[in-house]
């Protein structure tokens, strides 16, 4: 057995797997794809490098959304998801990957975002708003990390805009980074580009540490999870905006003046919920909305049904023709009679919104980020 194989097995601790199947049992995409992560963990340790290459070329490794349910459930503390990412890495290092993935990765390297938008336009969303920009070296309590998708995609820019309004109104000590902000690289890691990910972690750690920030406030759970868990040398504490908003509500700094009528169901984003155990803060905030009726999905909190936005899925279509998980989710929301499907992640907004349209449910419900809702009620 050569050293490449040995290091692959060692890296992912494949020999520790007892083949209990809890991973596949909890994997949300198994209902619609061929992905059997338990099999991959097994196959990846018992064969040679050529077959490892063959495994890497199986289309189902791209069905994984990196929701981490398998890692959460594994009784041996292994992370089967990382085996799949390791296989993706084999493909990435060979250079032969889907053009959409290639373009997204090259874009992160060149422009600091995966959407092929110019870096110079990253703060265009701030136009017309009073936004405090942080200065490196100056003390700032809350350094806000916007996220590439929130910065560039018109559909979700409202989250960043409304957060600015809330922070201004509540008199919070905050600062935004501006055009120097670069992708958290969460999806770069999930797509398997380890080299680029390491480079981004190093550069982002240096950039974020250059600000004298007490806390880094993220809007997207992907940024939250990756900055918190994969940036060991970061000085500041990393929180999600729902942590901050709960503090502000408890301190009486936010007033929700408008009445709201409607049934809201909250969808736990994988990267916030099951990966980082942030369940109650978003619910706390929604419960502050006067007149709102909050209901729960049957699959809530750690059992939340992944919307299939993460794990690089924004750039890779599954070969499966079975119903998208997001479609299932919005059907569930409709059955609950919810008029608002509330989320706290830009990828969830985009995938669930697509499903609402695909299913033709626009008359009955809409998908709204919590910040979007708050903005409507605060005006």
């Amino acid at each position: 057995m050569n050293t490449e194989m040995q290091s692959f097995i060692k890296k992912y601790d494949l020999l520790g797997c007892i083949q209990c199947g809890r991973c596949t049992g909890g994997c949300p995409v198994t209902v619609r794809t061929n992905l059997n992560v338990r099999r991959f963990v097994y196959d990846a340790k018992t064969i040679d490098e050529d077959t490892l290459d063959e495994l890497a070329r199986l289309p189902e490794i791209w069905d994984c959304t990196a929701c981490n349910t398998c890692a959460v459930r594994c009784p041996k503390g292994l992370k089967p998801v990382e085996v799949l990412i390791g296989l993706r890495n084999i493909l990435v290092e060979s250079g032969v990957i889907q053009p959409t993935v290639r373009d997204a990765l090259e874009s992160v390297f060149r422009e600091g975002n995966p959407w092929e938008k110019p870096r110079a336009m990253r703060s265009d969303w701030m136009e017309g708003l009073e936004v405090k920009i942080a200065e490196p070296g100056e003390k700032v309590e809350n350094l806000v990390f916007v996220c590439c998708t929130n910065a560039y995609d018109p559909k979700v820019q409202v989250s960043a805009k409304n957060l600015v309004k809330i922070l201004n109104k509540a008199g919070v000590d905050y600062g935004f980074i501006g055009d120097d902000e670069s992708c958290c690289a969460s999806e770069v890691h999930n797509l398997g580009e380890e080299g680029l990910f390491e480079m981004m972690v190093e550069d982002n750690t240096e950039l974020l540490n250059s600000y004298d920030a007490k806390r880094i406030v993220t809007i997207s759970p992907h940024c939250y999870s990756t900055l918190k868990n994969q940036h060991p040398d970061l000085n500041a504490e990393v929180i999600h905006y729902t942590h901050l908003l709960k503090e502000l509500f408890e301190a009486g700094k936010i007033e929700l003046t408008r009445e709201f009528s409607g049934r809201i169901v909250y969808h736990d984003p994988c990267f916030l919920g099951k990966q980082n155990n942030v369940y109650e803060e978003p619910r706390f905030i929604l419960n502050q909305i006067p007149g709102a009726e909050i209901v729960e999905f049957e699959r809530n909190r750690e059992r939340s049904l992944c919307c299939e936005g993460g794990g690089g899925k924004m750039w890779v279509e599954s070969e499966s023709t079975k119903e998208r998980l997001a479609d299932t989710r919005v059907k569930d929301a409709k059955e609950l009679g919810a008029s608002i499907l509330a989320v706290a992640c830009p990828f969830c907004v985009l995938t669930l919104d697509d499903s609402v349209k695909a299913k033709g449910f626009e008359e009955e419900m809409r998908v709204a980020e919590i910040l979007e809702l708050l903005g409507e009620i605060m005006e």
Partner: protein
């Protein structure tokens, strides 16, 4: 003095539009220089073209020789070099086309001629040729002049100048080919028709794209009619392919394909960011959507803010009439 020569471009029995576009513009410039406007026609058995060119030129220099039955860049270069040495026009115009770019730069180097490409405008004033080209895909114009004495060579952008009505009565002058022998180091083999069948939309020249606005599969029929009329390939947003109206390899967007056709007609597409990313490189974008705030209009060149069910039938009908 002041003579302008224009190379006639033709292929497989058709005189290409760029020829008359160039001659129409050249006629204006020749008036400014006070010189003659001469068409240069090289080929085999294309007398009808020579005739047609007489309506646009003061003279047609016609080389009719089986050596030129098919285009060969090296042969053209040799012949044109001789013609330039012999006739010494002030300006030689060639199309910035697949044919033109295959020999014009080499000819310019051989003849050590001042050479400027892809002009969108030109004129002769104050004793000089004034030339305009563009940079950064049309975002910047640049004015140029030539140094040294003529002859000068320029290439002209296609579909830039209007074709005028024929108004001249030029004479055809048949001349012998200065090139007597065939060339071995470059040989034309054959033409291959553009592939029909499996469509790779990333290579399509004209695309008709559909989105949610189409509402149901049965409405795809009228879209198909439009596509067939203008020989376009079909593609769509994720919503359209998800709904099964089109196969998945026709999806345009960040998780689908990136396309760059010269014409993209977006029907019932709102223009979600992920879709725009896949098609904004299209040269010309026509968008039909009843929502005036649809983001597709931020990248469109032509905006039709209206009900596609009312616009589409008439669009197709008129196109059928004009295109045949």
């Amino acid at each position: 003095m002041g003579d302008i020569f224009v190379l006639a471009e033709h292929r497989r029995g058709e005189l290409r539009e760029i020829t008359l576009e160039m001659l129409s513009k050249a006629a204006e410039v020749a008036q400014q220089t006070g010189g003659n406007l001469v068409s240069v026609l090289i080929g085999s058995g294309i007398d009808s073209f020579a005739e047609q060119l007489t309506g646009y030129s003061d003279k047609v220099l016609y080389i009719d020789d089986p050596l030129f039955a098919d285009f060969n860049a090296e042969k053209y270069q040799k012949v044109l070099a001789e013609l330039l040495k012999q006739y010494k026009p002030d300006l030689f115009m060639i199309g910035q086309t697949v044919q033109g770019v295959d020999f014009a730069p080499a000819l310019a180097v051989e003849m050590k001629m001042p050479y400027l490409t892809d002009l969108v405008d030109l004129a002769f004033a104050d004793g000089k040729f004034k030339l305009v080209r563009q940079y950064y895909q049309g975002k910047v114009n640049a004015d140029f002049t030539f140094k040294a004495e003529p002859p000068y060579m320029v290439t002209i952008r296609e579909a830039c100048f209007e074709i005028a009505e024929p108004s001249k009565k030029g004479a055809v002058e048949k001349i012998d080919s200065p090139l007597k022998e065939d060339i071995e180091y470059r040989r034309f083999i054959e033409y291959i028709e553009a592939e029909v069948g499996d469509v790779d939309i990333t290579q399509s020249e004209i695309l008709v794209a559909v989105g949610r606005g189409i509402r149901e599969e049965k409405n795809m029929e009228m879209v198909l009619e439009l596509a067939n009329t203008i020989k376009a390939d079909l593609c769509g947003t994720r919503a359209a392919t998800d709904a099964g109206w089109l196969p998945h390899d026709r999806q345009v967007g960040t998780s689908g394909k990136a396309v760059k056709p010269k014409l993209y007609i977006a029907i019932g597409i709102s223009g979600a960011f992920q879709h725009l990313a896949g098609m904004k490189a299209s040269k010309t974008i026509v968008a039909i959507n009843k929502d005036k705030d649809a983001p597709i209009f931020t990248v469109a060149d032509y905006a039709i803010v209206d009900d596609l069910f009312k616009v589409l039938p008439k669009l197709t009908e008129k196109l059928k009439e004009l295109v045949g």
